[in-house]
């Protein structure tokens, strides 16, 4: 099915698809960067801050681009039209972006408070939470990319 879709995809879907995929790629990259920096910081304040700011300044815009372009694409492809059956792969995508978005936001808030606590010389527990959330998000993104690309029935 996806073979047919790939070959016959109308050209007017290409631009929103490009933005959606580019946003998602940068989102995955920034989440991996954040998890790596926080994971390997070993208390280094500079790396901890860098990990958080990467998620905020790179990850958040990428998340917004992914979500908005995805919505645009789904609308163009007619998945919201009446009588169009729900697709498993699309459902997975929405779950990951919406529930994942909530988790992403929690990670950002925890990380933001964590970075403020760093300035006062307090612990890094909240940034560890952000790192754990990033790892969970990465796993969810792998499932979403697999579903979006493979389009399981």
């Amino acid at each position: 099915m996806s073979t047919v879709l790939a070959v016959s995809r109308p050209t007017e879907w290409n631009f929103p698809l490009f933005l959606h995929v580019l946003g998602a790629m940068v989102l995955v990259g920034s989440t991996l960067t954040c998890a790596s920096l926080l994971g390997f910081a070993h208390g280094d304040v500079r790396l901890l801050r860098l990990g958080y700011w990467t998620l905020l300044l790179v990850g958040l815009p990428a998340f917004i681009l992914t979500r908005l372009a995805g919505e645009w694409l789904a609308d163009r492809e007619g998945w919201y039209d009446e009588g169009v059956p729900d697709q498993v792969w699309l459902g997975i995508g929405f779950i990951v972006t919406d529930l994942g978005g909530l988790l992403f936001l929690i990670g950002l808030i925890a990380g933001g408070i964590g970075v403020r606590r760093l300035r006062r010389g307090k612990g890094t527990r909240l940034l560890t939470t952000t790192m754990a959330i990033s790892v969970v998000l990465l796993a969810a993104y792998v499932v979403a990319v697999w579903a979006m690309a493979g389009k399981p029935d």
Binding site: T11, V21, A24, S36, R46, L47, V145, A149, G150, K151
Partner: protein, 159 residues
């Protein structure tokens, strides 16, 4: 899902790993510009390894699985213009990426040298190596080439 659908999903996941690695290196390029101590530079090494792994898996997966798909998928052939363009662009990205790595490894090697010599303080030569303009330009070029591959994969000109 057919076998080819699985291969396609892994091909796309590889592309995500490739770009994720490039994002890691962009963040490190920005971070290392203000790093003038051996310790600060060496601390980046584990993250460099994550980036290298992501780019390695991504580059290998995209080319191997992509060529597999070109032969296996109905409607596409290896000699299609957009597939040849993607292979050429992939080769350029790989070559440029390798040169970028070499440019930034000079800073890492210098940091290890300084640390071995017991010099732990700020070092102007190390800062200059970490701020390599050549490295920034090469990584910028590699990024443009990867974006062109993505455009080629989505628009499939001539298909």
């Amino acid at each position: 899902m057919s076998f080819d659908d699985w291969i396609l999903a892994l091909h796309v996941l590889s592309a995500f790993a490739f770009v994720a690695g490039m994002v890691i290196f962009w963040v490190l390029i920005v971070a290392v510009r203000r790093t003038d101590t051996p310790e600060g530079t060496i601390r980046m090494e584990p993250i460099v390894k994550v980036g290298n792994a992501a780019v390695g898996i991504g580059a290998g997966g995209t080319i191997v699985l992509g060529i597999w798909l070109a032969f296996s998928y109905g409607g596409y052939d290896i000699w299609d213009g957009w597939i040849i363009a993607a292979i050429v662009l992939w080769a350029i990205a790989a070559a440029v990426g390798q040169r970028t790595g070499n440019a930034y490894m000079q800073g890492m090697n210098k940091a290890q040298e300084l640390q071995a010599a017991g010099q732990t303080g700020p070092n102007a030569e190390l800062l200059a190596l970490n701020r390599t303009q050549n490295g920034v330009l090469l990584h910028g070029l590699a990024t443009v080439v990867v974006v062109l591959i993505l455009i080629d994969m989505i628009w499939k000109p001539g298909a």
